[in-house]
Amino acid sequence: MKLPIYLDYASTTPVDPRVVAKMQECLSLEGNYGNPASRSHEFGWKAEEAVEEARANVASLVNCDNREIVWTSGATESDNLAIKGAARFYRKKGNHIITSKLEHKAVLDSCRQLEREGFEVTYLDPDTTGIIKPEELIKNIKDETILVSLMHVNNEIGVINDIEKLGEITRENGLVFHVDAAQSTGKVPIDLANLKVDLMSFSAHKTYGPKGIGALFVRRKPRVRLEAMIHGGGHERGMRSGTLPTHQIVGMGEAFKLAEEEMSSDNARISALREKFWKGLKDIEEVHLNGHEEKRVAGFLNVSFNFIEGESLIMALKDIAVSSGSACTSASLEPSYVLRALGLKDELAHSSIRFALGRFTTEQEVDYTIDLVQDSVTKLRELSPLWDMYQDGIDLDKVEWVQH
């Protein structure tokens, strides 16, 4: 077993070696290096063929038409293009947008930008398990509402929103529905032929593909229109100009093809590992699982270890690569806004660790991590005055703290 152990698959994934092999074919002198937009020679035709094959692979995983896939630089750009592009195009119909408090920053910051441009944005509260209730959405729709943007799988806690039901509501009300699916490809089946989703963002690097490439699904029937953000050359039917990076696109195509082939076996294996992992942690005193217990993707475990600060636990777990909702791991000194949106107390948000298992996680790694976590939690609690007080039966909510 190699150390350190990577348990941060929600942040990014290693590129699958089979994907690397495909990409390399586009990066050599003998390889497929042409510009896919070159119509006048074989180099261009060959590159275009590779790009279109990749497009078909992406479309196949999510069951849509090839022509509905637009290449972008990643899910952040897809979110920007979808939200700003649709809001600006449909502005004459209304200026109200609905999203939620636990969206990715790419969505939240795009919405903030639109607020500066005069749009009004409603940020829905999830329930305490992290799910957006359809009733919440219905309650907040107004005459001026034009766009709804909600994520499929949350990147911190891994819970899955019911986009089928949410889509029924948006379609009935004539609203454009954007879904950020960066975390769900290869983990949850997506059937865009039946879902009433109009725009969907994808990322390659969360699904064992390369960084720097993503896609946006733009529905053709009923047709959704966008105002482009990047101009110059009219690539991707004018929605996203710029020379297509063949090697990146081929990488994403191959990664999504593998995701389609291996989703069910990957899920079965990763779920079993996660169950084993949780079994090894759940009996530690004062441990809380954050997010819905069942409506979640296979690899995610977001756990709060009460009375321990998350960053110190990460330091103690130095052979394990994980991330925390603790303020100390962020530049802002604020604990995770996602966990706070669930109504979690600040101290539990500070105490959270996100473990994300993936395709290359082994049972041996899980066993090693369980032992290390148990040992580190014991040691850090030995050091914690809060644990002391808890053991003495003191109610920490009633203590008057000297805030600083």
Partner: protein
């Protein structure tokens, strides 16, 4: 989150051998104990510092120190560093300890300076608490 080597060393030493590194607790009601507790769980750090003192040559000297800290690695390292500075000092000397000394000793980055401020506050409180008893 890149830590200085000093923070990592201090943190790991404290975690590995808590007793040797003054982790612990005394009964705060004892006459020779001064206790300072600063910070709040909601902010992500709480430090409890205790000093054991004795009267000596018209003043009082810190004979021993114990602490427990809930917080990030830098907060734990800061408390531990403070403990080393305190042993054998008079109360007057202890009160003069400034957060920059701790920050410099550990190479704390600017974003972690508040950890050393907290450590400075904890000693002030502990001394004040002890002084109410003499």
């Amino acid at each position: 989150m890149a830590y200085s080597k000093k923070v990592i060393d201090k943190f790991e030493k404290t975690l590995k051998e808590p007793e040797k590194n003054s982790v612990g607790k005394w009964d705060p009601s004892e006459d020779d104990i001064g206790t300072g507790m600063v910070g709040a769980p909601a902010c992500g750090d709480v430090m409890r510092l205790q000093i054991k003192c004795e009267a000596k040559d018209n003043t009082h000297v810190i004979k021993d120190v114990k602490f427990k800290t809930y917080g990030c690695g830098s907060a734990i390292a800061s408390s531990s560093e403070l403990v080393d500075m305190l042993k054998g000092k008079t109360l007057e000397e202890a009160k003069k300890i400034k957060n920059v000394e701790i920050a410099e000793a550990l190479d704390l980055p600017p974003i972690k300076i508040h950890c050393s401020v907290l450590a400075e506050d904890s000693i002030k409180q502990a001394v004040e608490d002890y002084e109410t008893k003499i």
